[in-house]
């Protein structure tokens, strides 16, 4: 069984594309080989900045011989039909077999496809793979037509078996496959031949190239942590950065340097972000102080001066970058100290949030109004929540966030503290954006919760007001994330909030209506004045309106414009009537997804959604959890069966009789002991259920229902509901109605499956 080694050697492949490219190369080549009838034992793909490599072990030396039989036309079919068959099979008439079947003599083609040698198949598959490689962006170069991520320089394609190594013949756009590659661009640039994967890996290492990205990552991390530890520091973990850096070097050399004394006062987030974004440096923290004091850079080569020149150069670039950062930081601090956070936020009046939803300042005013209302519901002081809302986005106007948008909120916290604002307000700057994703923490401090909720409700109601809802996979304003944020904030803190109230309030604060209303008023008064002017036969026009004739022509245009605006207004008002229900339904949909991830069935949620107060998510989930737990017990499943049976009989009888059996079951008509017993337990259940429901003690309510299970079972076993005696029948149907009423108090059990 031969082994196969493929290396595609090119100019520098972007680091972010390498992981995906390894997978694609492996999949495309192995799929192609298997499709062509070859098998292999093991496949592994590797990459460096300059090469993509695939190693296959135990490849079959050739594909199996295949025999294919195809039925053709009858022997006496018209010549054209037979010729067509010959063409499609590639055989001649005398190579066809003639067999007799039910319908007479029929022609058959027996085609033997001899197995093909692996190299031939490999060449075909590799050619196809390179030409159709799914790079996120690819390019042409020179005068050629081939596309690759960057210019492709050479192809190594070698099969190795017991007899030695042979090159798989293959030429692509002038590049002939061979058995040579090159080492490190600077340290070992010469070409050399390889005979097998092991030989390749060993010779690459000798030529200062570590092939396996995982090995480079491990080496970088090991050296970095060791070096930091030796100086009493720890490297700030960053898996994404590690993978990226490993994709930028073939021969990693880790160097550590100190951050200039002048910059150590910058917030650690600023140091970390600046170093990572601009220079792909790791941060080294002093564990005693929590400050970031050193950096680690990863060079791509060894040098005679052990990296001294490289480190000095990097340090110099870092100083220039951090000088900028310090300039922003000091400038921002000066701003907040002189004009406060609200002064810093002043410019947000000129920043458009969305052309239909006003400026960032408009948005902040809405969030403030909402936060003030939410505050008492989540245990926050309304004035504090309002203040937090006013300043939480101020840092969007800071120089630092202008440079590093990912520091929004974080910088706000620092600046709010510098401005002497209360800690609760400072915390809300960062926390009000949270949770940023399904795995991000949910704020718990009341002021933060109030502003975070207000922020998300404003976003949702804003885009609902202008009917910009997510569709399919399109969610450009991240409204699903905002909805999940609302859900997690409410549930995570156990807050009792009527979302409908908040939605209606939020919609009411949106400016969209005003933006139509203003022009309508203006037009109305203009038309009125013009009509009044024109009613005077002696009026000759004014400088503003033009001549009388021009004014007469203007009037119908203005009227049409007004009608169009009024139509827009009518449409909007009609939509705003249904928008709250629509938005609540959207939130319920997201809640279902959220709860399904936590193992609660969708029908259980539906059963609870059908109950009143479903816009109080905490209550809703309490109910759903209790119901889900109850349905997991034997009593629960049996009671559900009993309920369904009672409900079915009752529904059928009501449909047939055209009446509603809802009142008047009387124990004196009980004909059977089981019936009498049922009366008794229903009385008891009602007595327990009412206070349990009133105190929202769903487990207690479920327990009360569980007590019904045995008597209901016994009742159905002992008696026939549809008795011949009409009095007894009516009484029993009314009794079933009591079962239904009691059960439906807890949740709409009719919506449960099974």
């Amino acid at each position: 069984m031969p082994d196969l080694l493929i290396e595609l050697f090119s100019e520098e492949i972007p680091a972010r594309m390498q992981a995906r490219a390894r997978e694609d190369l492996k999949k495309l080549v192995t799929d192609g080989l298997v499709e062509a009838g070859l098998t292999y034992a093991h496949a592994a793909a590797f990459s460096t900045p300059r090469r993509l490599t695939l190693a296959l072990e135990g490849l079959s030396a050739q594909s199996p011989t295949l025999k294919e039989e195809r039925k053709g036309p009858k022997a006496d079919a018209p010549a054209a039909a037979i010729e067509g068959f010959l063409r499609s099979t590639g055989l001649t008439r005398d190579q066809l077999e003639q067999r007799d079947d039910k319908k007479g003599a029929t022609l058959f083609a027996v085609i033997t496809r001899p197995g093909r040698a692996a190299p031939e198949i490999v060449a075909e598959v590799l050619d196809r793979t390179i030409r159709a490689f799914p790079w996120p962006k690819s390019m042409r170069w020179g005068a050629g037509t081939l596309r690759w991520v960057r210019p492709l320089h050479s192809i190594l394609c070698v099969m190795t078996d017991d007899h030695g190594a042979t090159v798989v013949p293959l030429t692509l756009d002038g590049i002939a496959a061979g058995n040579t590659t090159r080492g490190h661009r600077f340290m070992a640039p010469a070409a050399f031949p390889v005979s097998s994967f092991d030989d390749y890996v060993a010779k690459l290492k000798a030529a200062k190239v570590i092939l396996d990205p995982a090995e480079r990552e491990a080496a970088i991390w090991h050296d970095a942590t060791t070096m930091a530890f030796a100086q009493g520091g720890e490297v700030v973990d960053d898996k994404g950065l590690l993978a990226e850096v490993a994709g930028l070097v073939e021969w990693p050399v880790v160097l550590m340097g100190a951050i200039g004394e002048a910059f150590l006062g910058l917030p650690p987030e600023v140091l970390q972000t600046s170093m990572k974004e601009h220079q792909k440096f790791f941060s080294v923290r002093n564990p005693r102080t929590g400050r970031i004091e050193k950096f680690i850079t990863v060079a791509n080569r060894e040098t005679a001066d052990h990296g001294a020149t490289i480190l000095a150069g990097n340090q110099k670039v870092l100083s220039a970058r951090l000088s900028d950062a310090r300039f922003f930081w000091e400038n921002d601090l000066r701003t907040v100290k002189s004009v406060g956070m609200e002064g810093m936020a002043a410019g947000l009046a000129n920043v458009t949030f969305h052309n239909k939803l006003g400026s960032q300042a408009d948005r902040i005013a809405r969030i403030e109004a909402l936060a003030r209302e939410i505050a008492p519901l989540v245990g926050a002081a309304p004035d504090l929540a309002a203040e937090a809302a006013r300043v939480a986005k101020a840092d969007l106007q800071s120089a630092m966030v202008g440079e590093f948008p990912e520091l929004q909120g974080t910088m706000g916290g620092y600046y709010a503290r510098a401005a002497g604002l209360p800690e609760a307000v400072a915390n809300a700057c960062k926390a009000h954006y949270q949770p940023l994703g399904p795995s991000d923490d949910v704020p718990t401090k009341p002021v933060s919760v109030a502003v975070a909720l207000a922020d998300k409700i404003d976003t949702l109601t804003g885009f609902w007001a202008i009917d910009e809802k997510p569709t399919g996979s399109k969610d450009p304003f991240a409204l699903r994330r905002a909805a999940l944020g609302v859900i997690r904030l409410v549930l995570g803190n156990g807050d009792r909030i009527s979302l409908t109230d908040l939605i209606v309030r939020g919609l009411g604060l949106q400016l969209w209506r005003n933006s139509i209303m203003g022009p309508i008023y203006t037009l109305e008064s203009e038309i009125e004045r013009l009509e009044c002017d024109l009613s005077d036969p002696n009026w000759v026009g004014t400088f503003l309106t033009g001549t009388r004739q021009q004014a007469e022509q203007l009037l119908p245009k203005l009227r049409e414009e007004l009608r169009s605006l009024q139509r827009q207004m009518d449409d909007l008002d009609a939509w705003l009537v249904v928008a709250p229900t629509d938005l609540l339904a959207f939130l319920h949909d997201r809640l279902k997804v959220h709860l399904r991830d936590q193992g609660i069935r969708h029908d259980v949620i539906d059963a609870c959604l059908a109950m009143p107060g479903n816009d109080d998510l905490t209550l809703l989930v309490k109910r759903a959890e209790a119901l889900a737990a109850f349905l997991n017990t034997e009593d629960g499943t049996n009671l559900l069966q009993g309920f369904k049976r009672a409900n079915n009989i009752l529904t059928q009888a009501e449909a047939k009789d055209g009446v509603e059996y809802s009142f008047g079951a009387d124990p004196k008509f009980a004909a059977d002991a089981s019936e009498t017993a049922l009366f008794a337990v229903l009385d008891a259940a009602e007595a327990t259920l009412a206070p349990a429901m009133a105190s929202e003690d769903f487990p207690a309510a479920m327990a009360a229902m569980a007590a019904l299970r045995a008597p209901i079972d016994a009742f159905f076993t002992a008696v026939q509901v549809n008795s011949d005696n009409p009095v007894i029948r009516r009484n029993r149907l009314n009794l079933l109605s009591r079962i239904r009423t009691i059960c439906l108090k807890v949740a709409d059990l009719t919506r449960l499956e099974g």
Partner: protein
């Protein structure tokens, strides 16, 4: 050769060494284009010559203007007027990376001591309707050049592909010469009878242009000039073809001059802060439309490999 020269001593020596290096590699060493441009790419030797099938190899210094980057000569790294060194070779030779690294050695960057990296950076010019793939080249963590394989220019696919190298001369020179503030950089040899620093030559102009760019430029006039340039470009391209002698001369270059003008006028208007975010896109689109039509015209000419001659 380069190694024996040692480290350059002045800004101009770096330019001279680049000129000598690329001349030795066979490039036509051109002179700067005589118009105000935002980058070396605008020179017709790059924009227009990257189109069509005829081979091309040119290198030149291009003074470039970015009015919004003016800092009155006070910022150590930012200037509203600066120099780019530009190399364009079509078709891009297979050893372009090595040629480029040779140029670093020529200006005194010893690749055995420094860490040179090719870091992904795709280039796009919305005003020229152009894009390409390539890298920014890092030397010890500092960006010293842009390296791009042009894929499309003026809306035309590049066939063959040009390789473009752009060196930001001031930044590169400051690094090589070990200077912290651009104005302190020696322009000629510091041992000359009359040594001149970059600041001796440009501090005052940076102050004057910063004031004009930001506060004084007459925006109504600039706007009118923008519209005039746009109209003239259109007129040149749509002028009835045969001239008095009955010749058909397509005027791609004169039209492209007007496109360059429009682009720079837009930059000036932008620096004056009179263009809103939404208008910005519209202006860029108008310049791009001109660039595209110039490119359409150029590819019909002889230099563009077309049939019009």
């Amino acid at each position: 050769m380069a190694a024996t020269q040692g480290t350059p001593r002045s800004f101009q020596e770096i330019i001279l060494r680049l000129q000598a290096y690329w001349a030795a590699k066979g490039c036509a060493v051109l002179q700067p284009y005589d118009m105000e441009v935002g980058a070396g790419t605008f020179h017709p030797a790059t924009t227009l010559r990257s189109l069509g099938t005829r081979p091309w190899a040119a290198a030149y210094v291009q003074p470039s203007r970015r009015p919004t980057d003016g800092r009155y000569g006070e910022n150590p790294n930012r200037l509203q007027h600066y120099y780019q060194y530009q190399v364009l070779i079509k078709p891009s030779p297979p050893d372009l990376q090595d040629l480029y690294l040779g140029s670093l050695n020529a200006i005194g960057i010893d690749t055995a001591l420094h860490d040179i990296r090719f870091v992904e950076d795709d280039w796009e010019s919305p005003t020229l309707g152009a894009w390409g793939l390539g890298w920014e080249v890092w030397c010890d963590g500092m960006e010293v050049s842009q390296f791009t394989y042009f894929q499309q220019v003026g809306g035309h696919d590049c066939h063959p592909v040009s390789g473009e190298l752009t060196y930001g001369l001031e930044r590169l020179a400051m690094y090589v010469l070990g200077v912290g503030h651009v104005m302190d950089m020696p322009f000629n040899d510091p041992d000359s009878p009359i040594p001149l620093s970059y600041g001796d030559i440009f501090r005052q102009t940076e102050q004057e242009y910063s004031r004009w760019n930001f506060d004084q430029a007459d925006t109504a006039m600039l706007l009118k000039h923008f519209e005039d340039a746009e109209a003239e470009c259109d007129r040149i391209l749509t002028a009835s073809q045969p001239d008095k002698a009955g010749r058909h001369i397509v005027m791609a270059h004169p039209a492209y001059d007007q496109c360059i003008k429009a682009s720079h006028l837009f930059n000036l208007l932008d620096a004056r802060g009179v263009i809103s975010v939404t208008e910005r896109q519209a202006y860029i689109g108008r310049v791009r439309a001109l660039a595209k039509r110039c490119a359409d015209a150029f590819v019909t000419t002889e230099a563009g490999g077309g049939q019009a001659a």
